[in-house]
Symmetry: C3
Subunit: 153 residues, 3 copies
């Protein structure tokens, strides 16, 4: 039932993934994350992802049908409508709804990794969910805790 690999002591490594966004939507960063794991020499352990913003967030969702992401954006719009009277309005009508949408989704994720592979389900991808209208460059801090496969030899 349980399994462990024999690749020696645990170590930590960190990196940053950047995503350029152009309006509300879901931006798939799965491949970039996997590339960082490979660069780090990640073996088995846990990858932590943390988005360093409060008007964009992290979501693991289905990657098979792009209409799923369009519906998720609509659902968030319904839960945090732009036309409500918000106290905090001086950064634009899309700012406070973006904070609400960020609060209702994820700031951090922790994903098990086994022998270098993210333990995502078949249809799962990792998305930066952008909630602002203007283009942004978003930063996701990655922190690896696990075994390291030394590729330097």
């Amino acid at each position: 039932m349980s399994r462990a690999d024999a690749a020696g002591p645990l170590r930590q490594a960190q990196a940053v993934v950047r995503a350029r966004t152009s309006g509300p939507g879901f931006y798939d960063v799965t491949r970039k994350v996997q590339q960082h794991l490979a660069t780090m020499g990640a073996g088995s352990g846990v990858l932590t992802l943390f988005i360093r913003h409060t008007s964009a967030s992290l979501v693991v969702q289905e990657n098979a049908d792009p209409t799923v992401q369009a519906d998720l954006v609509d659902a968030l719009d319904g839960l945090a409508p732009a036309n409500r009277r918000w106290r905090h309005a001086d950064e634009g009508p899309d700012d406070m709804p973006a904070h609400v949408k960020s609060m209702l989704t994820q700031t951090s994720l922790a994903i098990p990794v086994f022998t270098g592979h993210l333990q995502l389900g078949t249809w799962q991808a990792i998305y930066v969910a952008e909630h602002r209208s203007a283009p942004h460059e978003r930063e996701v801090a990655l922190a690896w805790i696990g075994t390291i496969i030394d590729n330097s030899g």
Copy 2:
């Protein structure tokens, strides 16, 4: 204020918890998770839980009164109604609401463990929240990072 045990170097171990579901609701997996910790010989560290699905999710909630879970299911139904016009409808009317409910709850959890014990509060339990109508077998990947108590001696 802070505390550490002296059980030696950190190690990692992984396992999978499976939950059979029969329609929307909360399925308590706390005991299964604890059994895996015991099997792994978990001492002190952090247990990561990650559900490998996008129409079911993880929730830590009250286990004292089962009407709490029934109310939580109703609340999620209100936030993601099945009778809305969703673009993504070819997997059935309960599919897209299930993705929304999954997005609004948790895909991953990280729970501190001290000397083998999950640091849950008195009334907290770990649930797989099923959002689909048909029966499913759901997989939750567990990843342990912490000290290991060797029971083999």
Copy 3:
């Protein structure tokens, strides 16, 4: 792109942060969390935060403008109204909405730490979100996995 420090093997340490609350709102615990990291001698790794309650939760949000937090409280009230007919009502009209708000926000957070510093974005703070009306003392379990800087020499 990726970085690791050379401070030796990974270790774990745990602590508890307490927050006294006086009604619904966001209570900033960032400084207390940072103090615990310093006391633990935390170098680089991941800090896990886990709130041991089901009617209060964790949120990372903007700390610049306090009206943001007031709007977030209002948004949560709209999503889980106190005047709905809840099955679970014997702990008061604010109890079941508090469980819903807790479910829609976070029970656990994982935050990367590099050379002792939480990798929060410029405007991010860590909040205990209180959802009950009566005053409470809330407990957040902290678990450190990472390098430890020995200050004892």
